[in-house]
């Protein structure tokens, strides 16, 4: 041991104290860890266990170990593939509307014109409502016979649409309601992102001769890209989870036109009471969303 080496010299007494501090720290975080284990890890592990068995709620007999049979069955079933396709279609439709609309609104509200504050507060209301209430509200409005939307269409000389009874109108209805709630959220994050950007590069671009569109294309958009990426990932994850609005509006119908993976999972578990198959589907859903989570962690980790 060299003399004067602060680390070497410090080894004598502080080390045990530090380990005491570490132990205390562990003690403090333990409740959070235990809670996380109880509500997250244990159910997940239990679901994984269930997914390897043949449990159903329609039988009193205990199930047996069936290996990956549930997974094989689900992953190859046309219903699963159809639900996956529906999930991706709804996700694409939702993103195509929500990102441009949210960003556009944020750009308008960022300019602090007269009345923007009131407008901004009003825009946040949909975000604060319970999805189930929102679903019910829109279900009335979409009603083919009595809904105000149909009435509105008639007033401008168009035909009523059976929003929730035809496949594509039903998909659009879900995307519209989801967007109505999600656009304010996208807007809020974009607005926060815009507020965090320095003014100078924009002014530099203007003095450099850039038009408004060029400033947006070459400066705003790239500088806002990290925020947009995060927003996109949040919305993708939300799309995987989309359930409540669907449940109220269509329950996956008409037929299976709006049956997403989440809806299918619910139907298998609670309508067909096939517990183990539902567990397998749940695990599949988690794995499918995993790459987005990984990307999310990387992006947020990098920006930090």
């Amino acid at each position: 041991m060299r003399r004067g080496d602060p680390q070497a010299d410090g080894l004598g007494s502080p080390a045990p104290r530090r380990s005491l501090r570490e132990r205390a720290a562990l003690l403090y975080v333990a409740p959070a860890w235990i809670a996380m284990l109880a509500v997250f890890a244990i159910p997940l592990l239990f679901a994984a266990y269930l997914s390897l068995r043949s449990e159903t709620l329609t039988s009193f007999l205990p199930g047996r170990f069936v290996g990956l049979q549930n997974y094989r069955g689900e992953l190859t079933s046309p219903i699963f593939l159809d639900a996956l396709r529906t999930t991706l279609i709804l996700m694409a439709m939702a993103l195509a509307i929500q990102l441009p609309a949210g960003l556009g609104l944020a750009l308008v509200l960022h300019r602090e014109l007269r009345g923007t504050r009131l407008f901004r507060s009003a825009l946040l209301i949909p975000m604060l409502l319970t999805p189930v209430a929102v679903g019910l509200m829109w279900r009335f409005m979409f009603d083919a016979d009595l809904g105000i939307i149909g009435w509105g269409l008639e007033q401008i000389g168009l035909h009523r649409i059976d929003w929730l009874g035809d496949p594509w109108p039903a998909r659009w209805a879900i995307v519209i309601v989801d967007s109505w709630q999600a656009i304010p959220f996208v807007m809020l994050l974009c607005l926060a992102g815009l507020a965090g950007l320095p003014d100078a590069p924009f002014e530099a671009a203007i003095v450099d001769g850039a038009s408004r569109w060029q400033v947006f294309r070459y400066v705003t958009l790239p500088m806002l890209a990290p925020v947009l990426l995060v927003v996109t990932m949040i919305r993708v994850i939300d799309s995987f989870k989309l359930f409540d609005i669907l449940f109220i509006l269509t329950r996956g119908g008409p037929g299976t036109a709006t049956q997403t993976l989440g809806m299918l999972n619910y139907n298998v578990g609670f309508n067909f009471l096939a517990t183990s198959r539902a567990a397998a589907l749940g695990i599949v859903l988690t794995v499918l969303a995993m790459p987005v989570y990984v990307l999310w962690v990387r992006v947020t980790g990098r920006s930090r």
Partner: protein
Amino acid sequence: MARIVLEHVSKRFGDEVEAVRDVSLEIADGEFMVLVGPSGCGKSTILRILAGLEEVTQGRVLIGERDVTNLAPKERDVAMVFQSYALYPHMTVRDNLGFGLRIRRTDRAEIAERVTSVARILGLEPLLDRRPAELSGGQRQRVAMGRAIVRRPQAFLMDEPLSNLDAKLRVQMRAELARLHGRLGTTTVYVTHDQTEAMTLGHRVAVLRDGTLQQVDAPQELYARPRNLFVAGFIGSPPMNLLRGRVRGRFLELGTHRLPLGSRAELPDQTEVVVGIRPEHLRPADASDDHALVAPVEVVEELGSEVLVFARLDVEPARTEGGAELLAGGGALVCARLPAGSRFRPGTTIRLALDPAELRFFDPASEEAIPLRAAALGR
């Protein structure tokens, strides 16, 4: 290159704040004009008005004989260097440099050639493929300069471009800026609150206070003949000593001290004045000096090449905004700039003598300089 003219320009923000008040200024083609003044004096606003980032409330702006008052920034053909550099963080140095040209749809080959040439001038060649985050402060500053130069604009507008650099780098970049201007000869308007930058870089310096022009002159002129108390207190470091006094016949009375006015005895008896003395014009009195300012030394600053001695004189100081404010305590803290090796200790007494020809006089009421025949003849 272009001449820049501001004609009776005013700028109001809302109803209360008048950032620029009736400023008229003519900047010659190829001139390096420095706008200097304390925070909030309106210097940056004037620069932004020139760039087109702010609209004028009143007045006209001409760049290269063209009235640009109502023209958008891109139609003014000026380039701006920002205090924060304002580099595009997502672009490489190469793209940052070429952005203005790309926007103007300049030919690709020409962009490449001009970017390379500017990078060579500024020593940025090895950094062309890096992003701003990977550059040091000095390198970023050079990229910001390069971005302005590469466009070959009619004028450069620089908003405190060196203020984010450390002291050593600032001195280096200052020299580089002067060299660049010598080489390019582009009309430059340079905003700073650092008077050393103002004095060393500017062909002429415009001193601003509360949105109004105080004096526009060559640096030496500004230093030697400040037009008012504000300029006197603002230009020079340490600032000019400004003391209240009274003319008594052929003498100047400063508190209990009496100094002969010699050749400067032009003012009527009993005139109240503020007298300005540059620190370098005070020297330790010797046996031949009949009259001297006798004061206890409070602070001694050894700067290596010189010694600053601060002595407490029982004279009323003149209050100015420009930095001549004196520390708490009665009387005025007078600064003398003495040659290296001068030995004075706090607590001892110093006798300071001066040449009356170096005195500057100001009217305490109007704060304007009192012109004297002798003053007009030189220092």
